[in-house]
């Protein structure tokens, strides 16, 4: 800029009357205003310019500390000192006091270096000293900064609109094809991830990302995002091109959890250099940390569980449940729920009800309790005796809660001491809570044999149990919980080899899987017919697609050293597709959000299914014929190419006929019947059966 102006000036002088020798002038012309500040020209140098630090950067202001009388001041000072000296050596502390000698509720702390002050701000901002005091920590120099804020408010300039990625494009697929992703460890870490659409007649690959994730991936519960793990943290991806939407820096993240409505994401990872583990809850949209918890390195990290509407998140502590409100991430009503002896809890998938169970204590039976949140009111309690362990199983629609109770039968107290308890084997109870009925009645089902698996029908009233063991295999029993009736056994399938149960997400159908051998039985639970038995040798993964139309089974690198593959079956157990993929790791179907149609609309569609049926049928047929046409064309081309080559070679063969005859004494051996003279017919009688008859 400056140069240009100079040139202009010189030009002007040429137009003048004086024929002056053009001397290059470096002087600023008259009236020239330097529009460029030193800042623009030399900003990099100025930054390095040495200047005095006034020491103000070392000072922090701690606000919201308790106001105390002079007698208790020393105690307060000790507490504050202990806290803040973790960030560095404290050089000076000052507590301003009012005329009565009470502290004013804030103090100044001076560190040795600005970095320590910054660290203290980072660590102790929003630190909860006790129930009523949450510290606010700022660097002292910040006050100067905020003082300079102009009084007049100027509206911010509107930012140009940046189009965001359409996160829900996958739902607008006209044929409602489902998507799935396949993780492959192709030797180079991180692993490759392929995104497929399960289109007909053959799936289409949408996208392929090399070096996508460090270990595995995870879909969010509504299918909007997919998580990739990295050394530095996790990233979520989405949209039609699977772009990166956000990242959450948390080194050493091993596990990720979404809140059910996809507002929050929880990362479980390391707490940094000091060791131990840390749990961070993030806001998915903003990418900001909402709250973090540093766990004791020796205790297992407690899992955070979400209420169905994202309003609360709860974790279990020693003798208490901590329930946090997600608006503030403070404890609900500022205190934990004290439950001495609590062993496990679970949220209802559809209501804000927590079920938890408490172990047996001396003279107090074990019990399972349902608690309403946020009122913290106990709505149902069931006492249980001789309990060894409990497992809480909510049905997906929240209609029932099944509690699997492991019990020891008749513990006889031999001798005088209580320690001499004799166990006479175990038996098992299922306590079924009917959530939708008045007063929540509880039913009980007793099973004497060991339980292999338990699973609720996600939509419906049935549950399935694998029980028993032995040479003949195990049994699979189906029970039904009807409204106003006791739970009853509807079907017992004996001598099965199943180890796992996989219900269709829409209910009705179930896969009895033997995950050690890879045998999958597809059962229709309406009449309990085994529709088909599929064999995918060694497969141990089994996943229903979110619509309940397909099942994927997989055998991966985790279990076998070769034959890695995944199969896709129809819900009737018909094998649709077999994919052999070296170093295949996992397959995950992309979840779908629940339908937006009301129940009446769904009913309407079901009623008119016959009307839609021919349309879909026609569409399928068209697709099939198109595909087979393509295949036929491909084959025709191959055949043509091959035949062209072949004709030439057959010609060669014919040309060599004389030579062949010559080599074999002029006997034609080109075809079996060529040489009539040499053919000898022989009639062979086969002895089929030998019988000896005694006369």
């Amino acid at each position: 800029m400056a140069r240009k102006r100079n040139e202009e000036y010189i030009g002007e002088s040429d137009d003048g009357e004086f024929e002056e020798e053009p001397v290059e002038s470096f002087e600023d012309p008259e009236g020239f205003v330097d529009t460029i500040s030193d800042e623009d020209l030399l900003s990099d140098l100025l930054k390095k310019k040495p200047c005095e630090t006034d020491g103000m950067e070392n000072v922090i202001v701690v606000d919201e500390i308790p106001k105390v009388e002079p007698a208790r001041q020393e105690k307060l000072e000790n507490v504050i000192k202990k806290l803040f000296s973790t960030c560095g050596e404290i050089a000076n502390v000052f507590y301003p006091k009012d005329e009565n000698g009470y502290t004013k509720g804030y103090c100044f702390i001076e560190y040795k270096s600005p970095s320590q002050a910054e660290e203290a701000v980072k660590v102790y901002s929003n630190y909860r000293l006790d129930k009523t005091h949450t510290l606010l920590v700022n660097v002292f120099t910040d006050f100067q900064k905020y003082e300079n804020i102009p009084v007049e408010w100027t509206p911010p300039t509107p930012q140009p609109y940046k189009p965001t990625v359409d996160l829900y494009s996958f739902l607008t697929e006209p044929d409602a094809y489902d998507q799935y992703c396949v993780v492959v460890d192709n030797g180079t870490s991180p692993s490759q991830v392929q995104f497929w659409e399960n289109s007909l007649p053959d799936p289409t690959e949408l996208h392929r990302k090399d070096k996508f994730t460090e270990q595995t991936v995870k879909w969010s519960p509504l299918g909007t995002y997919i998580v990739a793990y990295h050394k530095q943290g996790v990233a979520i991806w989405g949209g039609p091109q699977f772009q990166r939407i956000n990242k959450f820096p948390h080194p050493g993240t091993t596990h990720v959890d979404f809140s059910p409505k996809e507002n929050f994401i929880v990362t479980y990872g390391s707490a940094g250099a000091g060791g131990g583990s840390k749990v961070i809850i993030w806001d998915i949209r903003t990418g900001l940390e909402k709250r973090s918890f540093v766990a004791d390195p020796h205790a297992p990290t407690s899992l955070f569980r979400w209420s169905h509407d994202d309003k609360y998140v709860a974790s279990m502590g020693d003798g208490a449940i901590h329930i946090y409100e997600t608006e503030t991430f403070y404890l609900l009503e500022k205190k934990s729920v004290k439950i001495p002896g609590i062993r496990g809890f679970a949220w209802s998938p559809t209501d804000n009800i927590i079920a938890y169970w408490v172990a047996e204590q001396t003279d107090v039976p074990a019990k399972v309790t349902l608690m309403e949140i946020p009122k913290k009111r106990e709505i149902r309690t069931k006492n249980l005796f001789n309990v060894a362990d409990c497992k809480l199983h909510w049905q997906k629609s929240g209609d029932y809660l099944g509690v699997k109770v492991d019990r020891f039968s008749k513990s006889k107290k031999g001798g005088q001491k209580d320690q001499d308890v004799k166990f006479l084997g175990m038996f098992y109870n299922f306590e079924i809570f009917h959530m939708r009925e008045k007063d929540i009645p509880v039913d009980s089902v007793e099973i004497k044999e060991p339980i292999g698996a338990f699973s609720w029908e996600p939509v419906g009233d049935k549950f399935a149990i694998i029980h028993g063991e032995g040479a003949g295999g195990c049994n699979v029993s189906f029970y039904e919980a009807k409204k106003g009736q006791k739970v009853s056994l509807v079907k017992k399938m004996e001598r099965k080899s199943a180890t796992h149960l996989f219900w269709s997400p829409r209910g009705g159908f179930i896969v009895l899987a033997n995950c050690t051998q890879g045998v999958f039985e597809f059962v229709d639970t309406q009449d309990f017919t085994i529709m088909n038995t599929g064999d995918h040798h060694g497969a141990f993964q089994c996943e229903w697609d979110p619509t309940g139309r397909y099942v994927a089974t997989g055998l991966s690198l985790y279990k076998a050293k070769d034959d890695h593959s995944y199969y896709i079956w129809s819900f009737q157990g018909r094998l649709l597709r077999r994919v052999n993929l070296k170093n295949f790791l996992q397959l995950f179907w992309r979840p779908r959000p629940p339908t937006l149609l009301s129940e009446a609309q769904q009913k309407e569609i079901k009623k008119n299914l016959k009307k839609y049926y021919p349309q879909f049928e026609a569409k399928d047929r068209l697709r099939q014929t198109r595909a087979s046409k393509e295949l036929l064309e491909k084959r025709a081309k191959l055949r043509e190419e091959f035949m062209e080559w072949r004709q030439k070679r057959v010609q060669d063969y014919e040309n060599l006929r004389l030579k062949r005859l010559e080599l074999r004494n002029r006997i034609d051996t080109d075809t079996l019947e060529a040489d009539k003279d040499n053919l000898e017919e022989e009639i062979v009688e086969c002895l089929v059966k030998e019988e000896t008859t005694l006369i």
Partner: protein
């Protein structure tokens, strides 16, 4: 139709061969006694006794009079098919791996292993004189194989020999000039077996790299490829249809640690041109080591590591199968 189970060997089958008419089936195994069977009913006609070790390879000439076998006892023996008498026995310096009669049956080729300080060598002998004078007769040709050992072999008429090697190489040798004419390396592992089509214009290779490939017998251009998940030990081309059958499975050393299902010991049928698998046949409980189509194409036989030879006559549905 139920297959014919030929039980006669005490150890795993190494090779099976039909004679030209297909009325006889010859089989060799590691138990040192090659057998010959009637293919019509699976009755055993006889055995060829004399070897001291595992028999690796066998062949029968087009007239079904001469039979040769090569063995781990470091000998190649020539037999009379009809009487089972041992006519000649040629000593070698190491195991005999492959042996084949030429088209005319006047010559035979055999190859020896690279073992005990010996290089792999290719020999061609004249077998017109059917007597023990062969024992000491000089070979017509003796070719040392410097780079890689021969693991399978084919004659093309009486002039050229196609060899398949341990490193996956396929070469053509001109026997009169005694040198290599052409070679290609399409496979990455041992070529276990090679078989010509009926008109001798193409041949199929079976390799441990889990594939079988179809080659032009003259130019060695690889025409087609048939992929599986297991090592392929043998492959054969149907004489009447555009079909290829592949046999193999889990490597023999791993068999004891895996179940039959995981081993994949099925015979697998592929379409010759489209490279698509269209059928599988179960039966063996060990890997299949050798396969052959009956010359009339209406049945095929397989010999396995389990010691059984199975002759399977195709059902009517096989003949009715139409590939559009």
């Amino acid at each position: 139709m139920r297959p014919l189970m030929l039980q006669g060997h005490e150890r795993s089958i190494t090779q099976i061969r039909y004679n030209r008419e297909g009325d006889l089936l010859f089989s060799s195994s590691k138990d040192s006694k090659p057998n010959v069977w009637f293919t019509i009913n699976g009755e055993r006609l006889g055995t060829y006794n004399g070897h001291q070790g595992a028999v690796w390879c066998i062949d029968v000439d087009w007239t079904s009079t001469k039979f040769i076998s090569g063995s781990g006892d470091m000998s190649l023996k020539l037999w009379s098919v009809e009487t089972g008498k041992n006519i000649a026995s040629i000593e070698s310096k190491s195991s005999v791996r492959c042996c084949n009669f030429s088209y005319s049956g006047n010559q035979a080729a055999y190859s020896t292993d690279r073992a005990m300080g010996q290089d792999c060598e290719l020999f061609i002998i004249d077998v017109r004189t059917m007597d023990s004078s062969l024992n000491d007769a000089q070979p017509i040709l003796r070719l040392p194989m410097k780079n890689s050992k021969i693991t399978s072999m084919l004659w093309f008429l009486d002039e050229t020999i196609i060899t398949g090697h341990e490193n996956g190489l396929v070469s053509i040798y001109d026997t009169r000039m005694g040198r290599e004419v052409n070679s290609v390396k399409e496979h990455t592992s041992v070529i276990q077996d090679m078989q010509l089509s009926r008109d001798m214009t193409m041949f199929v290779t079976a390799s441990k790299d889990c594939t079988a490939k179809l080659f032009d017998a003259d130019s060695l251009v690889c025409l087609k490829q048939y992929k599986t998940e297991r090592p392929v030990n043998s492959a054969a081309i149907s004489p009447i249809y555009d079909h290829v059958v592949l046999g193999g499975g889990q490597e023999a050393m791993d068999v004891t640690t895996t179940s039959t299902k995981a081993g994949k010991f099925d015979s697998r049928f592929f379409h010759l041109i489209y490279e698509e698998e269209f059928a599988r046949l179960k039966g063996h409980f060990g890997p299949i080591n050798s396969l052959a189509f009956h010359p009339d194409g209406k049945s095929y036989a397989s010999g396995g590591e389990d010691g059984f030879v199975r002759i399977q006559v195709f059902d009517q549905s096989y003949h009715e199968l139409v590939f559009e």
